[in-house]
Symmetry: C2
């Protein structure tokens, strides 16, 4: 259904996420070969983030950046860790100049009231913003499309937009057609979980097309559309998220665009400060978990040592009745806990390092904003 | 000793690797505050790669890229996996323009004859090359310094140099002073393993300073020096590797430098083909390991199911003597194998994905080289 629609619409560029199976990608590639002769599939993590790009323009080069944090491997029911969420950049031969659109996905939000993944998503938003800043220095136009898993007013999206100067196609569009408020996760899509959307009767907007002109170009979003639940003439939708489609008008004209930072500095200082606070909260939680898993590993080791001592004593006092079965079971239990706790301790050590690194970078960003406004 | 030497020499820029402990970094920072007022420490992995930068110029921004493959967590005796090897980029305010030097380290080579880590190091060399290409598009001058763990003639370094156009300061230097052939791992350093250097009586050169001018600048290496074993007036060396020190003359002058690719295309095609072959060898090895760990997990699961069935039968036929101890031990053994094999299977799945991704990118690079020379 998605392939039919893409073939029919004949876009210049398609950025897809969550194409989990490479088989699906190959099928799409075969189906779309006529109108989108160039495509790329980004591989990452165990399952992959399912990022792929179909383009009418030749793909010259690609770059994948995997976020350093992406949830927890033991949260099997969420599974984000296994996807290796990332941002994929492609360089397209667009006329005589390169165009570098990015496709990306961030960690999902499973509970808005008590969002345990907020610090990870903020690290990802920051890494995404830094990736875009550093790779787009020679670009004329920056395009970012994807499932950011953030509401428009969330600190992560304000950080991303403020730090990169990217503009939101929905807010800038001259014409809009689609779901109310541009929502992309709506209650009357049969694949969405209705209870999660109860506080948001219209749905939420978490899929974005962002853009900016860097050098002497201007970009204007002439039209933005979303799909609206079911596919035309069918009773099932294309996907659990609504697709976002933008018509962008790119002109070589006008003044050189404004510098690196798009929004007014004082607001940006507030946003970076807010993000730093949230990352700090995550850092302290990660430090607590690192401590408690480390303690558990030490306790398991002590239990093993105690057992070894008792076992030796029992061996010396031969002839005494000795509960072999429960003794061995306990030893195996202790070994299991030791291995598990050590693994978790290593994982939370990495988490602490990355959160510390991001907090320091945010501190550096604040200093730069204040010293070189 | 390192701090004293750096303070005495008064360089513009210092790129360090393997500063494992943050405490050591803090000590260096305190000691060097006077001559290098700006510094940054990059955090990654469990231990960290120990990358840090000391600079006379203000640091405006930083970016860390962790390689997607870096050895195996179960190779505890090598431990590279725990370091999260990476490349760190800093943006310096260099006069009125930014200068972006990178500090990096690649996976170590433990056995040259049977180098199991070659595919991983090639993936890293390729990711490093891509990272430099994509982040240096607006730079005037690119500088890369680090422990690349590759001999000058190795395919990885030829790929990195060919694909980025970086030049080797040792080969270009007008004057050279230091260890013969510019070696940085030499037998008469008391920290090196003498047996590993037996085939190389002079030592090997695995630490590099690479550079290129991108826009209308020229860079010339006027002098290159290495330390030579022991520190002056002492009987111990600064480190197990010799330090590399370059005096670079950067001038705004001359023609715009040559394009993206530095060496002649036909050679580069050969290098990329060679790298692709090696990555392909690694891919097939990883696929075999993924298969065998998956099979082991399935066998462990079957053993557990068999035990559960036997246990139920034994429970039905009560009164029979039943070997509880060996039965429980076997069950715990099977659970242990199941968990371990599943973990390894996931790890090798990620390895296969990343090797496939790199192989495809190298194929795309070959096509680009052939179509757009």
């Amino acid at each position: 259904l998605i392939g039919d629609m893409l073939r029919q619409e004949g876009f210049d560029l398609v950025l897809l996420q969550e194409v989990w199976s490479e088989r699906d990608y190959s099928d799409l590639k075969a189906k779309l070969g006529g109108c989108y002769p160039f495509s790329h599939y980004f591989r990452s993590g165990v399952i992959g983030s399912g990022l792929c790009v179909f383009s009418r323009f030749p793909i010259l080069d690609t770059l994948l950046y995997q976020y350093s944090l992406n949830g927890y491997p033991y949260m099997l029911q969420h599974g984000d860790w296994f996807c290796g969420k990332s941002v994929g950049l492609v360089v397209l031969a667009w006329g005589s100049r390169p165009l570098c659109p990015c496709s990306c996905q961030l960690h999902a939000e499973y509970c808005r009231e008590k969002d345990a993944y907020l610090p990870h998503r903020l690290v990802q938003a920051w890494e995404l913003a830094q990736f875009i800043r550093h790779t787009s220095k020679a670009a004329d136009v920056v395009l970012l499309g994807g499932d950011l898993n953030m509401h428009p007013e969330d600190v992560g999206i304000r950080l991303l937009r403020g730090w990169t100067g990217l503009r939101d196609a929905f807010a800038e569009a001259t014409r809009f057609e689609g779901c109310e408020d541009g929502c992309t996760l709506i209650p009357n899509n049969c694949f969405t979980v209705k209870t999660e959307l109860l506080p948001f009767p219209l749905g939420i907007r978490i899929d974005y097309i962002l853009y900016k002109a860097v050098s002497s170009f201007t970009v204007k979003c002439e039209e933005l559309k979303t799909t609206t639940g079911t596919a035309p003439g069918m009773d099932i939708p294309f996907s659990d998220h609504e697709a976002v489609m933008a018509t962008l008008h790119i002109r070589r004209q006008g003044q050189a665009a404004d510098g690196n930072l798009g929004t007014a500095e004082p607001t940006l200082v507030d946003v970076v400060t807010e993000a730093r606070t949230e990352v700090g909260v995550g850092l302290r939680a990660a430090q607590r978990q690192r401590y408690s898993t480390g303690r558990m590993a030490v306790l398991a080791l002590l239990l093993l040592l105690l057992q070894a001592t008792l076992g030796t004593l029992a061996g010396l006092a031969a002839g005494q009745p000795f509960p072999k079965l429960s003794f061995s079971l306990l030893a195996f239990f202790a070994i299991g806990i030791l291995l598990l706790a050590t693994g978790l301790h290593l994982f939370h050590t990495i988490e602490v390092k990355m959160l510390q690194g991001t907090e320091e970078q945010l501190r550096m960003a604040l200093r730069t904003l204040q010293e070189h406004p």
